[in-house]
């Protein structure tokens, strides 16, 4: 083995990548050649020193903080991708709201037209009432409302007026309808 061969193989020897046969030949050359031996020693020392060139570990506090930061940043990106779904969901919600508003517009139209129809139907009925016996629309017991110690809270008169009022204007939350108080009075008597 020449010095050139030895120096070519030197790094592979340092990296322990030579076959046993080549390694034996190289060792034999190093034993005989001081120059190549020094080259080998310095290459080995450099590799050893580089191997020890590790930085000090920054410590557990650093690692727990850093892994928490990484977790936050990656779940953040996970959240960003969910945010897309959120946006899609909110968009479908918006679509739902639009549909709902359409439905409510349609419902108001139905109510309006029903009211008009009912109104006309009611006039016809009123005409019928005037012509014949008035039909009973509602039966309400007009009694006094008393407390547990028999003090009157609502008198019979008040109850009657209240019922009339409700029938005229509609009970709270209901759509009022116009009915002649006389008709109602006569029908409830």
């Amino acid at each position: 083995m020449t010095c050139h061969d030895a120096l070519t193989l030197l790094e592979d020897y340092v990296d322990q990548e030579l076959s046993a046969g080549t390694e034996a030949q190289l060792k034999k050359h190093f034993a005989e050649c001081a120059g190549c031996r020094r080259e080998f020693d310095s290459a080995l020392l450099l590799k050893e020193l580089l191997g020890q060139h590790k930085p000090r570990d920054p410590g557990e506090d650093y690692w727990s903080e850093t892994t928490a930061l990484i977790r936050a940043r990656t779940t953040e990106s996970l959240r960003q991708s969910t945010r897309v779904t959120d946006i899609t969901a909110s968009r479908s919600l918006e679509r739902g709201a639009f549909t709902r508003s359409l439905v409510s517009v349609a419902a108001s139209l139905v109510v309006l037209f029903s009211a008009i129809l009912l109104g006309t139907g009611h006039e016809q009925r009123l005409a019928r009432i005037n012509a014949t016996e008035p039909p009973v629309y509602i039966a309400a017991a007009l009694e006094e409302v008393v407390d547990s110690d028999n003090t009157v809270i609502v008198t019979r008169d008040e109850n009657e007026r209240l019922t009339h009022g409700m029938l005229l204007l509609g009970a709270p939350g209901s759509i009022g309808r116009f009915v002649s108080p006389m008709v109602m009075a006569s029908s409830t008597d």
Partner: protein
Amino acid sequence: MDKGIPELVQDFLDGDQRAFETLVDRFKRKIYSLAFQVLGNHLDADEVVQETFVRVYRKRQELKDVRYFSSFVIRVATNYAIDLLRKRKGHSGIPDDTGSLPGEIQLDLSRRVKTPSEDFEKKRLMEEIFRALEQLPPRQKLTAILHDVEGYTKSEIAQTFDCPEATVRSNLHIARTKIKKILKQRLKSKE
């Protein structure tokens, strides 16, 4: 029993966040050490560690084979570290020659006497090696660090840089030769 890397990687790719965090635990010190070697300070190493894992997470679909996860992580880390290195210092002005080994440094490096001053001598040499490493172009520097400091095999480094093993071998040889040359010049100038 702890799960192996390929298994963890598969779980991670299937959307298991905890598998990802275990992978972070397994690789974080390697990345930190590597980044510290390349950039020479804690703050930059810290930035590389965080950015590497965030990028690995976001680029996970690019990982074609779970067996190559290690190379994938190292590649992401080295690419980011190289970018940061260039941003910090600009291109290295060291010429790409592979001049022969000077004699003086060989004597210095081959002196392995067991004296009380050995530790001091060793420490001084380590500092010089670190400065010498700093002067290498990024690829050579990284190859030397990955191979000689971090202990990666040539085939792993080839995988990382997506280049033939011969290129790694040659880069490593050039890096080692340059370190010795730079060391020699530094030690000579101090005499």
